[in-house]
């Protein structure tokens, strides 16, 4: 996100942002953490209103979400099949003529619903920076090398057990303009569907023991330490592949379903 952060140049949040130091942002995050710990409540999702992430200031709803019983179309999700996704799209290291630079890795895991049932034959999409922390995106101006052999976009369908698997390169951390000397911990963006529309989610997967976790307002917007730890993959030597790639495992659990999945949700052949 060497983002033009706040494309709206008049937004007060962005001018404030330019002036903040890491120490100031860290102090804001620490204050929110203390206040959260004092409540004794358990939050499982990020706060939408999280001022240390400056871009959230004008982009979070101020009213609580309105409860709606899911009905009709909301109880179902779009269907994706092998006409949608080629198996080769799960390997981000073979999209160009040469090998991309960086640490080759396999990331795999299962997508489960809130009852622990596998989410079968559903779409998983990922995108990420290259090993140097640079995205193939015209708005990424971070002066790190573009890798002509790495686009950083992949897709797959989960198999009959809810398992997804990608082969890719470990992404690098990158600077962004939230505050002075702001750096994002290395991450892979994940987009996931469940069997119901209400389970749709986009998130980010992180790597173990990243020293940037404590400094990053996007990660810290999940105020509950156990909840944000659920975004961190585990190194798994059983996934690591001999003389080929290191391995990480990361399971994704969707919110509860309001409809028991039918056989017809999982039609089609196995991935």
């Amino acid at each position: 996100m060497t983002d033009i952060l706040d494309e709206a140049p008049t937004a007060p949040a962005s001018s404030d942002a330019a002036a903040s130091t890491q120490a100031e942002v860290s102090a804001e995050m620490a204050a929110i953490s203390r206040e959260y710990a004092d409540t004794g409540a358990t939050e499982t999702q990020p706060r939408l209103d999280y001022p240390p992430y400056r871009s959230s200031v004008l982009r979070h709803p101020t009213k609580d979400p309105h409860h709606a019983d899911p009905e009709g179309i909301e109880l179902w999700a779009p269907v994706f099949g092998h006409q949608d996704v080629d198996r080769l799209e799960a390997d981000l290291t073979i999209q160009h003529r040469g090998e991309p630079v960086g640490e080759r890795m396999i990331v795999t895991g299962r997508v489960l619903d809130g009852e622990g049932r596998p989410v079968r034959h559903q779409l998983v999409e990922i995108w990420q920076a290259n090993a140097g922390g640079r995205y193939i995106h015209k708005r990424d101006q971070h002066p790190a090398a573009i890798d002509p052999n790495f686009t950083g976009v992949g897709r797959c369908l989960t198999d009959g057990d809810g398992t997804y698997s990608f082969t890719t390169i470990k992404p690098g951390p990158y600077p962004w303009k939230n505050h002075r000397n702001a750096w994002r911990p290395a991450h892979i963006h994940f987009s996931v569907f469940g069997p119901a529309f209400t389970q749709r989610m986009i998130t980010q997967m992180y790597f173990p023991s990243d020293p940037l976790f404590a400094l990053d307002p996007i990660y810290q917007s999940i105020t509950d330490p156990a909840a944000r730890d659920r975004l961190v993959a585990t190194y798994d030597h059983d996934v690591t592949s001999h003389e080929w790639a290191t391995g990480y495992r990361w399971d994704i659990v969707l919110t509860g379903s309001h409809r028991t999945p039918l056989e017809s949700d999982t039609e089609g052949d196995d991935a």
Partner: protein, 187 residues
């Protein structure tokens, strides 16, 4: 261990960030039907922030019934064949915060119910996705009888009803402030 065995707490969401543009939209993602389809309608509008400024880096997804009210169960959204209605599409906003889909007007999924499109909103600066509904105008009796709309005061209710225009429907999304769109929790 990032997730102890047996832990079925939901995985937290995170912002879509600014760099989804080369990853999530794809050719044809916003055309559920070809715009030249005789029954095509345009479903479009703007995404605005709390200052009333356009949000040029938002991503919207719609999911809807067909004109007959049936829930689409056909694959093929990512490689559209031009004939199969999958009911799902994806559009990013442009530099003016505007998004646009070509689709078919959904029918009621149950007799007498008010037709709507289910909408998901993602954006840089938005830490988790938002859900809402865009009801179609026209069937006033169905709109009045809708349980969700009936549970809202008139000003808030109006944020969930699209306006007709000459080619289809306009649905603006206000993330914050005056006229803030009603966003939904499905608990």
């Amino acid at each position: 261990m990032s997730r102890p065995a047996g832990d079925l707490q939901p995985t937290p969401g995170q912002t879509v960030g600014p760099f989804f543009g080369y990853a999530l939209p794809y050719d044809g993602s916003s055309d559920l039907v070809p715009p030249t389809h005789p029954d095509a309608v345009r479903f479009h509008g703007r995404v605005l922030d709390g200052a009333g400024d356009p949000v040029p880096d938002a991503l919207l997804e719609i999911w809807q019934a067909g004109p007959d009210g049936a829930v689409p169960r056909a694959a093929g959204s990512l490689h559209r064949d031009g004939f199969t209605f999958t009911g799902w599409g994806r559009a990013s906003t442009d530099g003016t915060g505007h998004y646009s889909f070509a689709t078919l007007a959904p029918g009621p999924t149950a007799p007498g119910s008010a037709p709507y499109l289910a909408v998901t909103v993602f954006a840089r600066g938005l830490l988790n996705r938002l859900f809402t509904r865009a009801y179609l105008p026209g069937d006033d009796a169905a709109l009045v009888a809708d349980p969700l709309l009936a549970s809202l005061d008139p000003e808030r209710r109006a944020t969930l009803v699209a306006a007709a225009d000459d080619r289809g429907f306009v649905f603006d999304i206000r993330l914050q402030g005056d006229g803030e769109t009603v966003f939904l929790a499905h608990g």
